[in-house]
Subunit: 333 residues, 2 copies
Amino acid sequence: MTHPAAADHGRALAAAARSGDRRALGRLLTEIEGRSAAARAALGELYPLAGGAHLVGITGPPGAGKSTLVTSLVAAARAQGRTVAVLAIDPSSPITGGAILGDRVRMQQHAADDGVFIRSMATRGHAGGLAVATVDAASVLDACGFGLVLIETVGTGQGEVDVASLADTTVVVQAPEMGDEVQALKAGLLEVADIVAVTKADRPGADQAAASLRAMLTVGAQHDRAAGDRPRPRRPEVLLVSAIAGTGVVELLAAIDRRAPSTDDAAPDRRDAAYVRAETQLVGLVMERVRDRLASPAARARLAEAVRAVAAHEADPYIAADGLLATFVDDAP
Amino acid sequence: MTHPAAADHGRALAAAARSGDRRALGRLLTEIEGRSAAARAALGELYPLAGGAHLVGITGPPGAGKSTLVTSLVAAARAQGRTVAVLAIDPSSPITGGAILGDRVRMQQHAADDGVFIRSMATRGHAGGLAVATVDAASVLDACGFGLVLIETVGTGQGEVDVASLADTTVVVQAPEMGDEVQALKAGLLEVADIVAVTKADRPGADQAAASLRAMLTVGAQHDRAAGDRPRPRRPEVLLVSAIAGTGVVELLAAIDRRAPSTDDAAPDRRDAAYVRAETQLVGLVMERVRDRLASPAARARLAEAVRAVAAHEADPYIAADGLLATFVDDAP
């Protein structure tokens, strides 16, 4: 399974990306999305150099204003002279296999700015690959010197790309007119929040929504303790932000910075997030390899026959799955 | 890997559930959630008897009114004397491992009605297990004589439980005040729809939202053709429903029934949905087994050491994953 040419290509892309070549960085991220041998070789070079960036997940329901908030955060960080990268997790369309709305073309005001790098992530394949590719992409951006990496994703608490398992710090975005804050609670979103950003603070109801969220989070903290769970390091902050009025963004960035992991690798907060991420990544990579085997030409006919038999209710799916496991995983052809 | 007592217990639950014992059915679904040996044995009995039910996915963004719509559909089907089961996919809370709001306690008007069975599904484990457990649960309900199985899930196009891969027919629920129908498009939801139900039809803007969705779906159909994809059998219908005014529900149920799969196993529409479901299930079961191996006591210490090394940026995650694959999958202890 050596691909010398692909590996050389990957290492060359890694070196160029490290030296500041933004086109090489873009190409490398395309290799990562494609889960190629070149990407694997590049990661081998870059992964040891990563670990300095603050990976910040920005999640929330559709329509909460995540993209606008991310644009404001990028501008605020740039005003402080910092480099920022954005990974917009674009769920693949199940039919077209691609993003429908081009996140790539948004934030055009930053297009000519080398201190900002914006990328939509998508995979054609299974959803599991997207989380793995996102962690790889964040590692590359980290190794290339981006100190702040914002990972923006739609969140319902059910998303396969569980941003809380990828990021050091998770910001949950909530719009006041989403009305029922219970929806956010129901979706499990508040439980992963380090910070809750209530957007559209200029609109009526925003203060009320923030107060209601703070009350819920207090109840949640009590619930955690009652259940005997490990207490979270800090209770989530609730902040009001208005992109239109331009208020709250600098404060939000400061709140994010306060939660930046310690540069001491042994500090518990840094260790916790990095451990969760490493476990997600390792299990994801093993699964990816197993899935590749089931999709291999050798497995295809056998899988198709098993699918037919199960679909016709002629075969027990458990017995059929055991057969596939024995043939294509345990005795990988 | 035989568990004779567990298998006997599973077969006994299966027989009791088939005979109409609702408590046994509930216990069996708990075994399925727990991914137990008893569940596996029960499935072996029941899976060959399944295949007659119409599995209908009900999905849409949080706040669209899915639960209310499902309650209305259940009432409409019961008024026609039909048996109905509801599987409410409750994303596990990442912290508490359980549902926060009790879907189990909703729809109390049907609590004393043996022709309705309502169940929230959740798993403590990884997200992948939930899709597998949901298909197993639907097969059990099918084998126990429920002709209509409604699978309700939050949808953003990114959900791990992709209802379109589990159901014969997918209803996407959209509220007019969600405003921007582009959000539904962005989330990929419309692409999986066989039927779009615009709820809250009594509110202003509902007609406009329906018209806008119909226009989008026309563009989408043209796009599909241009991309050379296989055309979908029928363009999605857009229907207006008001739970308050009580309008549109009977029409929605009729539209669902018109899409019921043919009872002829060889009919293409039935085959397509059943094939997609069987493949999702088979791949999911193989993955579940691999994941179990990584979680086994034998693997735990080795995985923890790999996680530590990757988190500290001492080890390349790809090389570490290959090591885990070789040790705990290829040479399963």
